[in-house]
């Protein structure tokens, strides 16, 4: 049923956008974390997503073999951004180094806010695409209806 694969593709898009919101929220929440897990300080994260191949029969077959839907989006990985920490001079801080500088995660709030807005818009777009497919399916079932 082709309509099901459209639903699956919409669902995968929603999953990716949810993850982007998740990661952006994590970045914002930890923007002042001077201590991270296992001694390292928090590093801003970024979602890398890829499309599942759907160009030819072979790639589609491979996608099905992996239990994926050809043409859908998937999260490749969540990477740590390669940015230097933001150094702030705070001599009294318990995590300050010898020079009195504290390393804060270099979270760009502007970028994170933009990611949040964009992700929620794209999520809405995915919902719209889903609704369009659904209403088309429902209209199809109206073919030959009496009233």
């Amino acid at each position: 049923m082709a309509i099901n694969s459209i639903f699956g593709i919409s669902a995968s898009g929603m999953s990716v956008e949810m993850t982007r919101v998740d990661v952006a929220t994590r970045n914002i929440a930890n923007s002042h974390a001077t201590r991270g897990v296992d001694g390292k300080s928090y590093v801003p994260l970024k979602v890398v997503s890829t499309a599942i191949a759907a160009q030819n029969f072979q790639s589609q077959l491979a996608a099905f073999a992996n239990g994926e839907i050809p043409g859908a989006a998937k999260i490749q990985e969540i990477v740590e951004l390669n940015v230097a920490p933001r150094m702030v001079h705070e001599p009294g801080h318990p995590d300050a180094d010898a020079q009195g500088n504290v390393a804060y995660p270099n979270v760009d709030l502007l970028t994170e806010m933009l990611t949040l807005t964009e992700a929620s818009r794209v999520y809405e777009a995915n919902v719209q695409a889903f609704n369009a497919a659904k209403s088309m399916a429902m209209r199809t079932l109206d073919i030959g209806g009496h009233k």
């Binding site: 099901n4 929603m14 999953s15 659904k134």
Partner: protein, 101 residues
């Protein structure tokens, strides 16, 4: 007046009703009935999936709300399809009932 023998009339071989190839043999292969049955099974499993999603949400796990919504919509479309097929069947049946004999 010469009345001809009715022999030529009685020669007519009686109509033979074909007994083979009825519904019973149809049912075995890829008949409409088996397709409908398969469709019903799929619809049932779609409904079960959406129920499982609902259970998970009720238990407090709302991690994939959209999956649940999509599963419910899919189940509703499938159910609608089965209901439409049923309507068409009933329509056909009524049509046959109305037939003048």
């Amino acid at each position: 007046m010469n009345i001809e023998s009715l022999g030529s009339v009685t020669d007519v071989s009686p109509l033979k009703l074909e007994t083979g190839g009825g519904l019973t043999s149809l049912e075995k292969s890829n008949s409409f009935v088996s397709i409908l049955n398969q469709q019903l099974t799929e619809t049932n499993s779609a409904l079960m999936t959406s129920e499982a999603h609902l259970r998970r949400i009720a238990a407090g796990d709302s991690s994939n709300l959209h999956q649940a919504m999509i599963a419910m919509e899919e189940a509703s479309i499938r159910l609608n399809l089965v209901v439409q097929i049923r309507n068409k069947l009933v329509d056909g049946y009524h049509e046959v009932l109305k037939m003048q004999l």
